[in-house]
Protein backbone atom coordinates (compact mmCIF):
# COMPACT_ATOMS: atom_id res chain seq x y z
CA UNK A 1 0.00 0.00 0.00
CA UNK A 2 1.38 3.30 -1.02
CA UNK A 3 -0.22 5.46 1.62
CA UNK A 4 0.26 9.18 1.61
CA UNK A 5 -1.07 10.01 5.03
CA UNK A 6 -0.80 7.47 7.83
CA UNK A 7 -2.43 7.95 11.21
CA UNK A 8 -1.38 5.45 13.87
CA UNK A 9 -2.73 4.90 17.36
CA UNK A 10 -4.17 8.38 17.59
CA UNK A 11 -5.61 9.11 21.04
CA UNK A 12 -6.95 12.39 22.34
CA UNK A 13 -8.03 12.92 25.92
CA UNK A 14 -9.60 16.09 27.32
CA UNK A 15 -9.29 15.70 31.06
CA UNK A 16 -11.33 12.58 31.80
CA UNK A 17 -13.00 12.49 28.42
CA UNK A 18 -11.53 10.34 25.68
CA UNK A 19 -12.47 11.98 22.41
CA UNK A 20 -10.46 9.60 20.25
CA UNK A 21 -9.04 6.24 21.18
CA UNK A 22 -6.36 4.43 19.20
CA UNK A 23 -7.52 5.48 15.75
CA UNK A 24 -5.63 4.19 12.72
CA UNK A 25 -6.18 5.52 9.27
CA UNK A 26 -4.54 5.56 5.88
CA UNK A 27 -5.21 7.88 3.02
CA UNK A 28 -3.71 7.30 -0.41
CA UNK A 29 -2.93 9.97 -2.92
CA UNK A 30 -5.92 10.91 -5.09
CA UNK A 31 -8.55 9.25 -2.91
CA UNK A 32 -11.74 10.63 -1.49
CA UNK A 33 -11.99 9.31 2.04
CA UNK A 34 -15.07 9.85 4.16
CA UNK A 35 -15.15 9.99 7.94
CA UNK A 36 -18.60 9.27 9.26
CA UNK A 37 -20.20 8.56 12.60
CA UNK A 38 -22.84 9.84 14.97
CA UNK A 39 -22.55 13.28 16.58
CA UNK A 40 -19.79 13.44 19.14
CA UNK A 41 -17.95 10.50 17.63
CA UNK A 42 -14.73 12.50 17.39
CA UNK A 43 -14.72 13.32 13.68
CA UNK A 44 -13.99 17.01 13.99
CA UNK A 45 -11.46 16.23 16.72
CA UNK A 46 -9.66 14.06 14.20
CA UNK A 47 -9.54 16.97 11.77
CA UNK A 48 -8.39 19.29 14.52
CA UNK A 49 -5.52 16.99 15.36
CA UNK A 50 -4.45 16.53 11.75
CA UNK A 51 -4.44 20.31 11.18
CA UNK A 52 -2.53 20.98 14.39
CA UNK A 53 -5.25 22.61 16.50
CA UNK A 54 -4.78 19.96 19.21
CA UNK A 55 -1.67 18.06 20.11
CA UNK A 56 -2.67 14.39 20.39
CA UNK A 57 -2.27 12.61 23.72
CA UNK A 58 -0.73 9.64 21.91
CA UNK A 59 -0.15 8.43 18.37
CA UNK A 60 1.48 9.79 15.26
CA UNK A 61 0.47 11.32 11.98
CA UNK A 62 2.88 10.75 9.10
CA UNK A 63 2.81 12.51 5.78
CA UNK A 64 5.04 10.78 3.24
CA UNK A 65 6.84 9.07 6.12
CA UNK A 66 7.48 12.34 7.93
CA UNK A 67 5.91 13.00 11.28
CA UNK A 68 3.68 16.07 11.25
CA UNK A 69 2.02 16.09 14.65
CA UNK A 70 3.73 18.58 16.92
CA UNK A 71 4.02 21.11 14.13
CA UNK A 72 2.15 24.38 14.36
CA UNK A 73 -1.09 24.97 12.48
CA UNK A 74 0.45 27.19 9.84
CA UNK A 75 3.38 24.83 9.30
CA UNK A 76 0.99 21.97 8.61
CA UNK A 77 -0.89 24.09 6.10
CA UNK A 78 2.36 24.85 4.36
CA UNK A 79 2.96 21.09 3.98
CA UNK A 80 -0.13 20.91 1.79
CA UNK A 81 -3.09 20.47 4.12
CA UNK A 82 -6.07 22.79 4.02
CA UNK A 83 -9.42 22.55 5.66
CA UNK A 84 -12.89 23.98 5.79
CA UNK A 85 -14.88 24.51 8.94
CA UNK A 86 -18.09 22.97 10.14
CA UNK A 87 -19.31 26.35 11.35
CA UNK A 88 -18.33 28.51 8.39
CA UNK A 89 -15.40 30.76 9.24
CA UNK A 90 -14.92 33.18 6.40
CA UNK A 91 -13.30 36.57 6.85
CA UNK A 92 -16.39 38.72 7.00
CA UNK A 93 -14.84 42.12 6.45
CA UNK A 94 -12.98 41.06 3.32
CA UNK A 95 -14.32 40.60 -0.20
CA UNK A 96 -14.83 37.13 -1.67
CA UNK A 97 -11.77 37.59 -3.87
CA UNK A 98 -9.67 38.69 -0.89
CA UNK A 99 -10.84 35.66 1.05
CA UNK A 100 -9.38 33.46 -1.66
CA UNK A 101 -6.24 35.54 -2.18
CA UNK A 102 -5.67 35.41 1.54
CA UNK A 103 -5.20 31.67 1.20
CA UNK A 104 -2.17 32.35 -1.02
CA UNK A 105 -0.42 34.61 1.48
CA UNK A 106 1.30 31.63 3.09
CA UNK A 107 3.08 30.95 -0.22
CA UNK A 108 4.10 34.55 -0.80
CA UNK A 109 7.76 35.09 -1.63
CA UNK A 110 7.56 38.87 -1.18
CA UNK A 111 9.47 40.17 1.83
CA UNK A 112 8.20 42.86 4.12
CA UNK A 113 10.45 45.24 2.22
CA UNK A 114 8.76 44.29 -1.06
CA UNK A 115 5.37 44.89 0.51
CA UNK A 116 6.29 48.26 2.02
CA UNK A 117 7.81 49.64 -1.17
CA UNK A 118 5.51 47.93 -3.65
CA UNK A 119 8.44 46.58 -5.65
CA UNK A 120 7.99 45.13 -9.14
CA UNK A 121 8.55 41.68 -7.65
CA UNK A 122 5.58 42.12 -5.36
CA UNK A 123 3.40 43.52 -8.13
CA UNK A 124 4.25 40.59 -10.41
CA UNK A 125 3.42 38.14 -7.66
CA UNK A 126 0.15 39.88 -6.87
CA UNK A 127 -0.90 39.78 -10.50
CA UNK A 128 -0.27 36.03 -10.67
CA UNK A 129 -2.13 35.53 -7.39
CA UNK A 130 -5.14 37.45 -8.60
CA UNK A 131 -5.23 35.47 -11.83
CA UNK A 132 -5.06 32.21 -9.93
CA UNK A 133 -7.70 33.33 -7.45
CA UNK A 134 -10.07 34.20 -10.28
CA UNK A 135 -9.47 30.79 -11.81
CA UNK A 136 -10.29 29.09 -8.52
CA UNK A 137 -13.42 31.18 -8.15
CA UNK A 138 -14.44 30.20 -11.63
CA UNK A 139 -13.98 26.47 -10.89
CA UNK A 140 -16.12 26.86 -7.80
CA UNK A 141 -18.71 28.90 -9.70
CA UNK A 142 -18.27 31.97 -7.54
CA UNK A 143 -16.82 34.40 -10.07
CA UNK A 144 -19.87 36.67 -10.08
CA UNK A 145 -19.55 37.28 -6.37
CA UNK A 146 -15.87 38.22 -6.42
CA UNK A 147 -16.25 41.74 -5.03
CA UNK A 148 -19.11 40.97 -2.65
CA UNK A 149 -18.95 40.42 1.06
CA UNK A 150 -18.95 36.71 1.95
CA UNK A 151 -21.79 37.28 4.43
CA UNK A 152 -24.07 38.27 1.55
CA UNK A 153 -23.60 34.89 -0.16
CA UNK A 154 -26.16 32.11 0.09
CA UNK A 155 -25.24 29.41 2.58
CA UNK A 156 -24.22 26.83 0.01
CA UNK A 157 -21.99 29.33 -1.77
CA UNK A 158 -20.30 30.21 1.49
CA UNK A 159 -19.36 26.56 1.91
CA UNK A 160 -17.99 26.53 -1.63
CA UNK A 161 -16.02 29.67 -0.88
CA UNK A 162 -14.43 27.91 2.07
CA UNK A 163 -13.32 25.16 -0.29
CA UNK A 164 -12.00 27.79 -2.72
CA UNK A 165 -10.00 29.40 0.07
CA UNK A 166 -8.57 26.03 1.05
CA UNK A 167 -7.57 25.35 -2.57
CA UNK A 168 -5.79 28.68 -2.72
CA UNK A 169 -3.25 27.55 -0.14
CA UNK A 170 -1.81 25.24 -2.81
CA UNK A 171 -2.99 22.28 -0.79
CA UNK A 172 -2.77 18.71 -2.01
CA UNK A 173 -4.95 17.31 0.76
CA UNK A 174 -8.29 18.98 1.43
CA UNK A 175 -10.13 18.30 4.67
CA UNK A 176 -13.78 19.19 4.30
CA UNK A 177 -15.80 19.35 7.50
CA UNK A 178 -19.46 18.74 6.62
CA UNK A 179 -19.30 20.42 3.21
CA UNK A 180 -22.94 19.64 2.40
CA UNK A 181 -24.44 20.66 5.74
CA UNK A 182 -27.39 22.98 5.30
CA UNK A 183 -27.44 22.60 1.53
CA UNK A 184 -30.58 21.76 -0.40
CA UNK A 185 -30.74 18.79 -2.74
CA UNK A 186 -29.68 20.71 -5.83
CA UNK A 187 -26.73 22.32 -4.06
CA UNK A 188 -25.66 18.94 -2.69
CA UNK A 189 -25.79 17.43 -6.15
CA UNK A 190 -23.66 20.29 -7.50
CA UNK A 191 -21.20 19.84 -4.68
CA UNK A 192 -20.92 16.15 -5.47
CA UNK A 193 -19.85 16.99 -9.00
CA UNK A 194 -17.41 19.62 -7.76
CA UNK A 195 -15.78 17.27 -5.26
CA UNK A 196 -15.37 14.55 -7.89
CA UNK A 197 -13.85 17.09 -10.24
CA UNK A 198 -11.41 18.18 -7.56
CA UNK A 199 -10.29 14.59 -7.11
CA UNK A 200 -9.83 14.25 -10.84
CA UNK A 201 -7.65 17.35 -10.90
CA UNK A 202 -5.30 15.76 -8.37
CA UNK A 203 -6.55 16.63 -4.92
CA UNK A 204 -6.73 14.11 -2.11
CA UNK A 205 -9.89 14.70 -0.13
CA UNK A 206 -10.89 13.69 3.38
CA UNK A 207 -14.41 14.67 4.30
CA UNK A 208 -16.77 14.49 7.23
CA UNK A 209 -20.40 14.31 6.25
CA UNK A 210 -23.76 13.28 7.64
CA UNK A 211 -25.53 13.09 4.29
CA UNK A 212 -25.21 9.34 3.63
CA UNK A 213 -26.33 9.53 0.02
CA UNK A 214 -23.59 12.05 -0.65
CA UNK A 215 -20.96 10.04 1.21
CA UNK A 216 -21.83 6.75 -0.43
CA UNK A 217 -21.75 8.31 -3.86
CA UNK A 218 -18.57 10.27 -3.68
CA UNK A 219 -16.19 8.45 -1.34
CA UNK A 220 -13.77 5.73 -2.34
CA UNK A 221 -13.36 4.51 1.21
CA UNK A 222 -14.99 5.25 4.54
CA UNK A 223 -13.90 5.30 8.16
CA UNK A 224 -16.62 5.01 10.76
CA UNK A 225 -16.11 6.45 14.22
CA UNK A 226 -18.29 5.90 17.24
CA UNK A 227 -17.52 7.24 20.72
CA UNK A 228 -14.00 7.99 19.64
CA UNK A 229 -13.31 4.44 18.43
CA UNK A 230 -12.80 3.36 14.89
CA UNK A 231 -15.45 0.70 14.37
CA UNK A 232 -15.14 0.04 10.70
CA UNK A 233 -13.14 0.94 7.60
CA UNK A 234 -13.72 -0.02 4.02
CA UNK A 235 -15.51 0.75 0.79
CA UNK A 236 -19.00 2.21 0.98
CA UNK A 237 -20.43 -1.19 0.09
CA UNK A 238 -18.58 -2.93 2.93
CA UNK A 239 -19.49 -0.26 5.44
CA UNK A 240 -23.16 -0.36 4.54
CA UNK A 241 -23.43 -4.02 5.52
CA UNK A 242 -21.19 -3.92 8.59
CA UNK A 243 -23.22 -4.93 11.69
CA UNK A 244 -21.28 -2.60 14.02
CA UNK A 245 -22.09 0.36 11.85
CA UNK A 246 -25.75 -0.50 11.65
CA UNK A 247 -25.75 -0.88 15.39
CA UNK A 248 -24.10 2.49 15.99
CA UNK A 249 -26.52 4.29 13.73
CA UNK A 250 -29.61 2.44 14.92
CA UNK A 251 -28.53 3.03 18.49
CA UNK A 252 -28.33 6.70 17.77
CA UNK A 253 -31.81 6.75 16.36
CA UNK A 254 -33.16 5.04 19.44
CA UNK A 255 -31.66 7.76 21.60
CA UNK A 256 -33.41 10.37 19.57
Amino acid sequence: MNANLVVTGLTQKFGGLTALNDVNMEVRFGEIVGVIGPNGAGKTTLFNIITGVYQPTAGTIMLNEKKINGLKKYEITRLGFARTFQNIRLFKQMSVLDNVMMGMCCRSKASIFDNLFNTPKKRREEKLQEQKALEILETMGLLDYKYDSPASLPYGEQRRLEIARAMATDATILLLDEPAAGMNEQETADLLITVSKLRDSGYTIILIEHDMKFVMNVCDRLYVLNHGELICAGTPGEVKTNPDVINAYLGKEEEE
Binding site: F47, V53, Q86
Partner: protein, 292 residues
Protein backbone atom coordinates in the same frame (compact mmCIF):
# COMPACT_ATOMS: atom_id res chain seq x y z
CA UNK B 1 10.66 47.33 58.85
CA UNK B 2 10.12 44.23 56.74
CA UNK B 3 7.16 43.05 58.85
CA UNK B 4 5.69 46.53 58.61
CA UNK B 5 5.87 46.35 54.82
CA UNK B 6 4.13 42.99 54.91
CA UNK B 7 1.29 44.40 57.00
CA UNK B 8 0.93 47.39 54.68
CA UNK B 9 1.18 45.18 51.63
CA UNK B 10 -1.50 42.78 52.83
CA UNK B 11 -3.83 45.66 53.62
CA UNK B 12 -3.57 47.32 50.24
CA UNK B 13 -3.37 43.94 48.53
CA UNK B 14 -6.69 42.86 49.98
CA UNK B 15 -8.37 45.94 48.50
CA UNK B 16 -6.78 45.14 45.13
CA UNK B 17 -8.16 41.64 45.45
CA UNK B 18 -11.71 42.99 45.73
CA UNK B 19 -11.39 44.92 42.47
CA UNK B 20 -9.60 42.01 40.78
CA UNK B 21 -12.53 39.76 41.69
CA UNK B 22 -14.73 42.20 39.80
CA UNK B 23 -12.54 41.80 36.70
CA UNK B 24 -12.61 38.05 37.02
CA UNK B 25 -16.37 37.86 37.45
CA UNK B 26 -17.03 39.96 34.36
CA UNK B 27 -14.35 38.17 32.39
CA UNK B 28 -15.86 34.87 33.45
CA UNK B 29 -19.27 35.57 31.98
CA UNK B 30 -18.35 37.76 29.01
CA UNK B 31 -14.68 37.06 28.17
CA UNK B 32 -14.29 40.81 28.35
CA UNK B 33 -12.08 43.17 30.29
CA UNK B 34 -14.25 45.85 31.82
CA UNK B 35 -12.20 49.03 31.48
CA UNK B 36 -14.86 50.91 33.44
CA UNK B 37 -13.99 48.94 36.58
CA UNK B 38 -11.32 51.42 37.71
CA UNK B 39 -13.66 54.32 37.13
CA UNK B 40 -16.32 52.63 39.26
CA UNK B 41 -13.75 52.26 42.03
CA UNK B 42 -12.95 55.95 41.82
CA UNK B 43 -16.60 56.94 41.63
CA UNK B 44 -17.34 55.01 44.83
CA UNK B 45 -14.65 56.91 46.73
CA UNK B 46 -15.69 60.30 45.33
CA UNK B 47 -19.33 59.66 46.02
CA UNK B 48 -18.55 59.09 49.70
CA UNK B 49 -16.35 62.17 49.70
CA UNK B 50 -19.14 64.34 48.35
CA UNK B 51 -21.77 62.86 50.67
CA UNK B 52 -19.66 63.22 53.78
CA UNK B 53 -17.61 66.35 53.16
CA UNK B 54 -20.12 68.41 51.21
CA UNK B 55 -23.44 67.20 52.54
CA UNK B 56 -22.23 66.20 55.98
CA UNK B 57 -23.67 62.70 55.84
CA UNK B 58 -22.46 60.19 58.39
CA UNK B 59 -20.48 57.13 57.38
CA UNK B 60 -23.21 54.55 58.20
CA UNK B 61 -25.54 56.43 55.87
CA UNK B 62 -23.06 57.34 53.16
CA UNK B 63 -21.42 53.95 52.66
CA UNK B 64 -24.55 51.86 51.97
CA UNK B 65 -25.91 54.65 49.79
CA UNK B 66 -22.70 54.69 47.76
CA UNK B 67 -22.63 50.91 47.39
CA UNK B 68 -26.22 50.83 46.18
CA UNK B 69 -25.65 53.72 43.79
CA UNK B 70 -22.59 52.02 42.36
CA UNK B 71 -24.64 48.87 41.88
CA UNK B 72 -26.95 50.99 39.76
CA UNK B 73 -23.96 52.42 37.91
CA UNK B 74 -22.77 48.88 37.16
CA UNK B 75 -26.17 48.19 35.65
CA UNK B 76 -26.02 51.35 33.56
CA UNK B 77 -22.51 50.53 32.30
CA UNK B 78 -23.78 47.24 30.97
CA UNK B 79 -27.03 48.68 29.67
CA UNK B 80 -25.58 51.68 27.88
CA UNK B 81 -22.23 50.30 26.84
CA UNK B 82 -22.67 46.63 26.10
CA UNK B 83 -26.22 45.35 25.75
CA UNK B 84 -26.68 46.55 22.20
CA UNK B 85 -23.29 45.21 21.15
CA UNK B 86 -24.12 41.80 22.59
CA UNK B 87 -27.33 41.65 20.60
CA UNK B 88 -25.46 42.48 17.41
CA UNK B 89 -22.75 39.97 18.27
CA UNK B 90 -20.19 42.73 17.69
CA UNK B 91 -16.45 42.04 17.69
CA UNK B 92 -14.89 41.90 21.13
CA UNK B 93 -12.79 44.98 20.51
CA UNK B 94 -15.96 47.06 20.12
CA UNK B 95 -17.06 46.03 23.60
CA UNK B 96 -13.59 46.77 24.96
CA UNK B 97 -13.65 50.26 23.44
CA UNK B 98 -17.16 50.82 24.71
CA UNK B 99 -16.25 50.05 28.32
CA UNK B 100 -13.19 52.26 27.95
CA UNK B 101 -15.49 55.04 26.74
CA UNK B 102 -17.84 54.61 29.70
CA UNK B 103 -14.85 54.63 32.06
CA UNK B 104 -13.44 57.79 30.48
CA UNK B 105 -16.83 59.44 30.72
CA UNK B 106 -17.20 58.62 34.42
CA UNK B 107 -13.66 59.77 35.25
CA UNK B 108 -14.04 63.09 33.50
CA UNK B 109 -17.51 63.66 34.85
CA UNK B 110 -16.01 63.33 38.35
CA UNK B 111 -13.17 65.69 37.46
CA UNK B 112 -15.60 68.32 36.24
CA UNK B 113 -17.96 67.78 39.15
CA UNK B 114 -15.49 67.66 42.04
CA UNK B 115 -12.23 69.04 40.63
CA UNK B 116 -8.88 67.52 39.78
CA UNK B 117 -6.88 68.40 42.89
CA UNK B 118 -6.22 65.83 45.63
CA UNK B 119 -9.03 65.74 48.19
CA UNK B 120 -8.83 64.98 51.88
CA UNK B 121 -10.90 61.90 52.59
CA UNK B 122 -12.67 61.41 55.94
CA UNK B 123 -11.04 58.74 58.06
CA UNK B 124 -14.10 57.07 59.52
CA UNK B 125 -12.25 53.83 60.22
CA UNK B 126 -10.01 55.15 62.97
CA UNK B 127 -9.84 52.43 65.61
CA UNK B 128 -6.49 53.12 67.25
CA UNK B 129 -3.51 50.85 66.71
CA UNK B 130 -1.61 47.83 67.99
CA UNK B 131 2.16 47.82 68.31
CA UNK B 132 4.04 44.52 68.11
CA UNK B 133 7.76 45.13 68.49
CA UNK B 134 8.56 47.76 65.87
CA UNK B 135 5.57 46.87 63.73
CA UNK B 136 2.51 49.07 63.96
CA UNK B 137 -0.82 47.63 62.90
CA UNK B 138 -3.58 50.20 62.80
CA UNK B 139 -7.21 49.40 63.49
CA UNK B 140 -7.99 50.65 60.00
CA UNK B 141 -5.69 48.04 58.53
CA UNK B 142 -7.28 45.25 60.50
CA UNK B 143 -10.74 46.45 59.58
CA UNK B 144 -9.87 46.66 55.88
CA UNK B 145 -8.29 43.24 55.84
CA UNK B 146 -11.18 41.57 57.66
CA UNK B 147 -13.81 43.34 55.55
CA UNK B 148 -12.09 42.21 52.37
CA UNK B 149 -11.75 38.63 53.53
CA UNK B 150 -15.41 38.51 54.55
CA UNK B 151 -16.49 39.94 51.21
CA UNK B 152 -14.35 37.45 49.31
CA UNK B 153 -15.89 34.61 51.28
CA UNK B 154 -19.33 36.02 50.58
CA UNK B 155 -18.62 36.24 46.85
CA UNK B 156 -17.28 32.68 46.80
CA UNK B 157 -20.36 31.49 48.65
CA UNK B 158 -22.65 33.21 46.17
CA UNK B 159 -20.77 31.94 43.14
CA UNK B 160 -20.27 28.35 44.21
CA UNK B 161 -23.29 27.64 46.42
CA UNK B 162 -26.28 29.64 45.26
CA UNK B 163 -28.49 29.24 42.22
CA UNK B 164 -27.55 32.59 40.72
CA UNK B 165 -23.86 31.78 41.18
CA UNK B 166 -24.27 28.46 39.46
CA UNK B 167 -26.04 30.23 36.62
CA UNK B 168 -22.98 32.46 36.37
CA UNK B 169 -20.68 29.45 36.15
CA UNK B 170 -22.94 27.94 33.51
CA UNK B 171 -22.91 31.14 31.46
CA UNK B 172 -19.14 31.36 31.73
CA UNK B 173 -18.76 27.84 30.39
CA UNK B 174 -21.15 28.01 27.48
CA UNK B 175 -23.45 30.94 26.98
CA UNK B 176 -25.48 29.32 24.22
CA UNK B 177 -26.01 26.17 26.20
CA UNK B 178 -26.92 28.11 29.36
CA UNK B 179 -29.56 29.97 27.39
CA UNK B 180 -31.01 26.72 26.12
CA UNK B 181 -31.15 25.39 29.67
CA UNK B 182 -33.47 28.24 30.55
CA UNK B 183 -30.99 30.54 32.28
CA UNK B 184 -31.69 34.23 31.84
CA UNK B 185 -28.24 35.04 30.47
CA UNK B 186 -28.91 38.74 30.22
CA UNK B 187 -29.92 38.90 33.88
CA UNK B 188 -26.83 36.97 34.96
CA UNK B 189 -24.57 39.36 33.03
CA UNK B 190 -26.30 42.39 34.50
CA UNK B 191 -25.99 41.04 38.04
CA UNK B 192 -22.32 40.33 37.46
CA UNK B 193 -21.75 43.93 36.47
CA UNK B 194 -23.69 45.16 39.49
CA UNK B 195 -21.69 42.94 41.84
CA UNK B 196 -18.36 43.97 40.30
CA UNK B 197 -19.22 47.65 40.60
CA UNK B 198 -20.26 47.25 44.24
CA UNK B 199 -17.01 45.46 45.09
CA UNK B 200 -15.01 48.17 43.33
CA UNK B 201 -16.93 50.82 45.26
CA UNK B 202 -16.25 49.19 48.64
CA UNK B 203 -12.58 48.84 47.76
CA UNK B 204 -12.42 52.51 46.73
CA UNK B 205 -14.00 53.62 49.98
CA UNK B 206 -11.66 51.49 52.09
CA UNK B 207 -8.58 52.76 50.28
CA UNK B 208 -9.76 56.36 50.50
CA UNK B 209 -10.22 56.03 54.21
CA UNK B 210 -6.85 54.27 54.56
CA UNK B 211 -4.76 56.89 52.78
CA UNK B 212 -7.12 59.69 53.79
CA UNK B 213 -6.87 61.30 50.44
CA UNK B 214 -8.15 60.60 46.97
CA UNK B 215 -7.21 61.96 43.57
CA UNK B 216 -8.37 61.57 40.02
CA UNK B 217 -5.43 59.36 39.09
CA UNK B 218 -6.67 56.52 41.26
CA UNK B 219 -8.97 55.11 38.63
CA UNK B 220 -6.28 54.47 36.05
CA UNK B 221 -3.57 53.32 38.43
CA UNK B 222 -5.73 50.95 40.42
CA UNK B 223 -7.51 49.74 37.31
CA UNK B 224 -4.14 48.69 35.91
CA UNK B 225 -2.77 47.19 39.10
CA UNK B 226 -5.84 45.13 39.79
CA UNK B 227 -5.83 43.90 36.24
CA UNK B 228 -2.24 42.82 36.76
CA UNK B 229 -3.45 41.03 39.89
CA UNK B 230 -6.24 39.28 38.00
CA UNK B 231 -3.84 38.14 35.26
CA UNK B 232 -1.30 36.96 37.81
CA UNK B 233 -3.90 34.78 39.50
CA UNK B 234 -5.46 33.68 36.23
CA UNK B 235 -8.22 35.85 34.76
CA UNK B 236 -11.60 34.30 35.50
CA UNK B 237 -10.47 32.51 38.67
CA UNK B 238 -11.72 33.82 42.02
CA UNK B 239 -8.99 32.35 44.25
CA UNK B 240 -6.57 33.57 41.61
CA UNK B 241 -7.86 37.12 41.88
CA UNK B 242 -7.48 37.07 45.66
CA UNK B 243 -3.98 35.64 45.58
CA UNK B 244 -2.97 37.96 42.73
CA UNK B 245 -4.25 40.99 44.60
CA UNK B 246 -2.31 40.09 47.75
CA UNK B 247 0.88 39.38 45.82
CA UNK B 248 0.70 42.67 43.92
CA UNK B 249 0.05 44.54 47.16
CA UNK B 250 3.00 42.87 48.90
CA UNK B 251 5.38 43.26 45.97
CA UNK B 252 4.51 46.91 45.67
CA UNK B 253 4.88 47.64 49.34
CA UNK B 254 8.16 45.78 49.68
CA UNK B 255 9.50 46.98 46.35
CA UNK B 256 8.70 50.61 47.12
CA UNK B 257 10.72 50.51 50.34
CA UNK B 258 13.69 48.49 49.05
CA UNK B 259 14.01 49.63 45.43
CA UNK B 260 12.65 53.12 44.97
CA UNK B 261 9.40 54.80 45.89
CA UNK B 262 9.39 56.60 42.54
CA UNK B 263 8.96 53.32 40.74
CA UNK B 264 6.23 52.10 43.08
CA UNK B 265 3.50 52.19 40.44
CA UNK B 266 5.69 50.46 37.88
CA UNK B 267 6.07 47.30 39.97
CA UNK B 268 2.61 45.94 39.17
CA UNK B 269 3.27 46.36 35.45
CA UNK B 270 6.60 44.64 35.76
CA UNK B 271 4.82 41.72 37.43
CA UNK B 272 2.25 41.71 34.65
CA UNK B 273 4.89 41.48 31.95
CA UNK B 274 6.80 38.75 33.77
CA UNK B 275 3.60 36.70 34.17
CA UNK B 276 2.84 37.07 30.48
CA UNK B 277 6.34 35.89 29.65
CA UNK B 278 6.39 32.92 32.01
CA UNK B 279 2.82 31.71 32.37
CA UNK B 280 0.26 33.84 30.56
CA UNK B 281 -2.64 31.82 31.91
CA UNK B 282 -1.72 32.87 35.46
CA UNK B 283 -1.43 30.79 38.62
CA UNK B 284 -4.90 29.23 38.58
CA UNK B 285 -5.81 29.86 34.96
CA UNK B 286 -6.59 27.20 32.44
CA UNK B 287 -5.26 27.21 28.93
CA UNK B 288 -8.14 27.85 26.60
CA UNK B 289 -8.08 26.16 23.24
CA UNK B 290 -10.67 27.63 20.98
CA UNK B 291 -13.11 25.37 19.29
CA UNK B 292 -13.12 24.92 15.56
Amino acid sequence: MFLQQIVNGLTIGSTYALVAIGYSLVFGVLRLINFANGAEYMLGAYFIYVLMMRFGASAPLAVPLAVITLGAVGYVVDFVGLRRLRKKNAPRMSALISTLGVGTFIENAIQIWVGTETKAFPNFLNFGKITIGKTIISGTQIFIFITCILLMLAVSFVVYKTKIGKSMLAVSQDQMCAKLMGIDVSLVITLTFVAAAMLACISGVLVGSYYQNIDTNMSFIVGMKTFAAAVLGGVGSLPGAVLGGLIVGLAESIGASYISAGYRDAIAFAILIIVLLVKPSGIFGKNNVDKM
